[in-house]
Amino acid sequence: MIAIIDYGVGNLKNVRHVFKLLEIPAQVTRDPEVIRAADAIVLPGVGAFRDAIKNLKKYELIDLLKEQANSGKPFLGICLGMQVLFDKSYEDGEWEGLGLIEGEIVRFEDVPKIPHMGWNTLIKKNDSPIANGIGADSYVYFVHSYHAVAKNPEDVVFATEYGTKFPAVVQSGNILGMQFHPEKSAEVGMQLLKNFKEMIG
């Protein structure tokens, strides 16, 4: 069973639904017992970094999520849920993240339009089982105004180019992040989530 973390940031229905289509039992929850019993963790989220961290604190999820990440079970952050995996964000101030992947979140500079909204391509950087079956020039759907800067290049599985090359899929051991919305990225998104399912075993 996957625990989809409910911390009051964004709509979890589409994320839950896509796992149902993939026939992976998933539960939207913030119950520590359910989270500890889960085989994998999915941390979704849209909106502001500050609100995400504030809510994770409010529901006493910070230490629990760190503990779960260190337990070795597959842990996937999606969109803002990926950004909070990093050490720090500079969105409207300076905010500490979960520190599960080394690096920072910064605003797009020197781009014609913000947010980076729409379909963009994945550029392979490092091999990983999460990349199985994802061909060159596969498109996924993004909507975000801030992007990650990973400290370790080997943590970047796929990058995407928008003004700069930024991490689209990151992985450090059992910790995974996707900046785009796999649940809204048609067949490519489904393939990525199928690969995540394989990692759960």
């Binding site: 229905k13 339009k113 913000i114 947010p115 963009n120 105004s145």
Partner: protein, 249 residues
């Protein structure tokens, strides 16, 4: 590279897709979920659904349609029509919509944009502007294109950006349904005035129209009847746009 988007628009009345002409003469064409699935498989990049029913009973049917779309379609979609309050945002987002477009209510109460952006994030707030050419400038119209406001379109787009809108859908109401091409000048002007993504709407009749407006600065082109009546198949359109050198998924 970020791709230009092709967006079929579906007007929904009592659970059916309809296509009006200059906001008049309504015609029933299809089941919205079936049509949405077809467009998604054909390569549509996003979808827009407008609720054109006014009754509260119609609203319930519409929300049911939104839920069914969210279950069956794996591309992003926007909901518009009848959105007046942050609570209206909540209802359609909970039903599975990715973005919500506001038009008349945002003109009458601009804080709707900042309130919704504050609660749900700018990424889901689309400011839809009905624009009419008044010779030396373009004027914002509301109430389905019937009521002039005296507001300049470019100024309203800038204000929308400042209030926290995440995207602008610019609908040229003279061009809507007449298939003589998108309004290139105003699309370019708005695209240069704000840093938000721009969806051009109204006027698509031939494939060249899509290329022209995407080259003029639109990030996405929206159309309805050319898709509903299969005058322009989406795969054919996308191949054509690629041949014109545009980045297309």
């Amino acid at each position: 590279m970020l791709a230009k988007r092709i967006i079929p628009c579906l007007d929904v009345n009592h659970g059916r897709v309809v296509k009006g002409k200059k906001f008049k003469s309504i015609q029933d064409v299809a089941d919205p979920v079936e049509l949405a699935r077809r467009y998604s498989l054909e390569g549509a990049d996003e979808l827009v659904f407008y609720d054109i029913t006014a009754s509260s009973e119609g609203r319930e049917i519409f929300l049911d349609t939104v839920e069914r779309v969210a279950e069956h379609v794996r591309i992003p979609f926007t909901i518009g029509g009848g959105i007046r309050t942050p609570d209206d945002f909540r209802k359609v987002l909970l039903a599975g919509a990715d973005k919500v477009s506001v038009n008349t209510a945002a003109v009458l109460n601009p804080t709707l944009i900042s309130e919704a952006a504050g609660i749900y994030g700018s990424q889901c707030v689309v400011l839809s502007i009905d624009a009419k050419n008044q010779g030396d400038h373009w004027e914002v119209f509301i109430n389905g294109g019937r009521t002039p406001t005296g507001i300049d379109v470019v100024e309203w787009a800038k204000q929308g950006e400042a209030l926290g809108a995440g995207e602008i859908c610019l609908n040229a109401i003279d061009a809507d349904g007449v298939k003589t091409g998108y309004a290139l000048g105003i699309t370019k002007a708005v695209s240069q005035a704000v840093r938000l993504p721009i969806i051009a709407s109204g006027g698509a009749g031939e494939m060249v129209h899509f290329a022209d407006v995407l080259e003029a600065g639109a990030d996405a082109a929206l159309a309805a009847s050319v898709f509903h009546y299969e005058q322009i198949p989406i795969p054919t359109l996308k191949n054509y746009l690629r041949s014109r050198g545009l980045i297309i998924r």
